[in-house]
């Protein structure tokens, strides 16, 4: 089917969202809670676009709105820009401590107002961490509470038995609000302490025991396989050295 995006006609596939179709054309729609691995959540509303069909127009979240024949999409209008500016302002007021939101606040030329800020907050509740954890198969974290108390946490903020300490949540977090502390051989994340496995060759802590169990399970390797006892760099080195021994 044909759809019109900012005056450019493109071919879209049924089932595709406006965002996916638009990204293919190279036109940029800003997003916060969208990640290609999880698809659209429609929660941040930052990707709002104006859709016109049969003469009537409406504002929709492009990450969840499926394309349909004959729609005309505008990705930037004064109304859309205002919506984005408001979201940037509100999220900044919620999480002023994150560099990410500070940058966005300036980028969208938000104006100062007297909304109360929480100076320590960094989370914008995009739920990417929750999705990442679910993708890992752990689902150790989720959003808890409702309304202004809403936040991401493990059940009752306890150390979660399901967590494998992979820190995928922290990696995917756009604002860097998930704390991962590594001290000697202990990795502390989500109120749980993980004992790190040290590389047998160089002694560098390279993974948690739970991560290695996850890998052994998924890749059908032996949990105590030789390669899983070495860090990435030493794996190559040791391999080459053993080859040498073998050749000699």
């Amino acid at each position: 089917m044909k759809i019109l995006i900012d005056g450019i006609e493109i071919e879209a596939q049924p089932g595709e969202t406006i965002l996916e179709a638009t990204r293919r054309t190279g036109i940029h729609i800003p997003t916060l809670c969208y990640h290609e691995a999880f698809g659209g959540q429609g929660s941040c509303r930052f990707c709002m676009v104006e859709v016109t069909k049969n003469g009537s127009s409406r504002v929709v979240a492009s990450c969840t709105y499926p394309v349909n024949d004959g729609i005309e999409v505008k990705t930037s209008t004064p109304q859309i820009d205002k919506i984005r500016r408001n979201i940037a302002m509100l999220l900044y007021k919620r999480a002023p401590n994150s560099l990410f939101m500070q940058t966005l606040y300036k980028e969208y030329l938000c104006t100062e107002n007297n909304l109360v800020e929480d100076p320590y907050e960094k989370c914008i509740l995009c739920r990417l961490c929750v999705n990442a954890c679910a993708a890992m198969g752990a689902s150790a974290i989720s959003t808890v509470m409702r309304g202004t108390d809403k936040r991401v946490a493990t059940p009752y903020d306890d150390a979660s038995a399901a967590c494998i300490g992979c820190a995928a949540c922290a990696e995917v977090c756009p604002t860097g609000c998930i704390e991962v502390q590594e001290d000697n051989n202990i990795r502390r994340i989500w109120n749980r302490d993980f004992t790190m496995v040290a590389c047998e060759e160089c002694g560098k802590n390279f993974a948690t025991r739970e991560q290695l169990a996850y890998i052994a399970d998924r890749s059908k390797q032996e949990a105590d396989a030789d390669e899983l006892r070495l860090c990435t760099n030493c794996r190559r080195k040791v391999l080459a050295r053993k080859l040498e021994t073998f050749n000699g």
Partner: protein, 158 residues
């Protein structure tokens, strides 16, 4: 998959040209630390070998990826979809060869992608230790031979 990357350690001179050309091709800078291929030399016995992704048939990196960001392309190379990747680094920990790496500069997982079907290291390897050959029985045997050595190595230490 028409062609495969064949590594023959007995031909390697340890010149590290492959590391340089790999990092230059992929990152635009001459920096062996950012190369997808590593050479290890043992001067005492005069032995060198490149270690590079073997594009495994049942690839551990692909198996452990939680979001399916690693897939096989038309050239038979396992490639990373950086938009889909979470940077959880499970693939790097899972790779038995240690050939999937994290690039701190660009914040992404990197590995040999066979340069889209025209490996730069092969073109510049002066001794022919790395070659890109037709995926026929003879060349598969060469690669199996290389793999078998690894296997023996592991059995030896295991």
């Amino acid at each position: 998959m028409d062609k495969i990357l064949v590594v023959q350690p007995e031909k390697c001179t340890g010149c590290r040209t492959c590391e340089l050309v790999c990092s230059y091709t992929h990152t635009g800078e001459i920096n062996p630390a950012r190369a997808r291929i590593s050479v290890f030399s043992f001067e005492r016995v005069g032995f060198s070998t490149p270690v590079v992704c073997q594009q495994c048939t049942s690839a551990a990196c692909m198996a452990v990826c939680p979001v399916g960001a690693i897939s096989r392309d038309n050239n038979g190379a396992m490639v990373v979809n950086h938009d889909r990747c979470l940077r959880c680094k499970m693939c790097a920990i899972a790779c038995p060869l240690g050939a999937t790496l994290y690039d701190y500069v660009e914040d992404k997982m990197v590995k040999c992608d066979l340069c889209g079907g025209d490996p730069a290291c092969v073109k510049l390897c002066p001794s022919g230790a790395i070659s890109y050959q037709d995926a026929n029985a003879a060349n598969f045997t060469k690669r199996k031979d290389y793999a078998a050595r690894f296997k023996d190595v592991y059995e030896e230490v295991g």
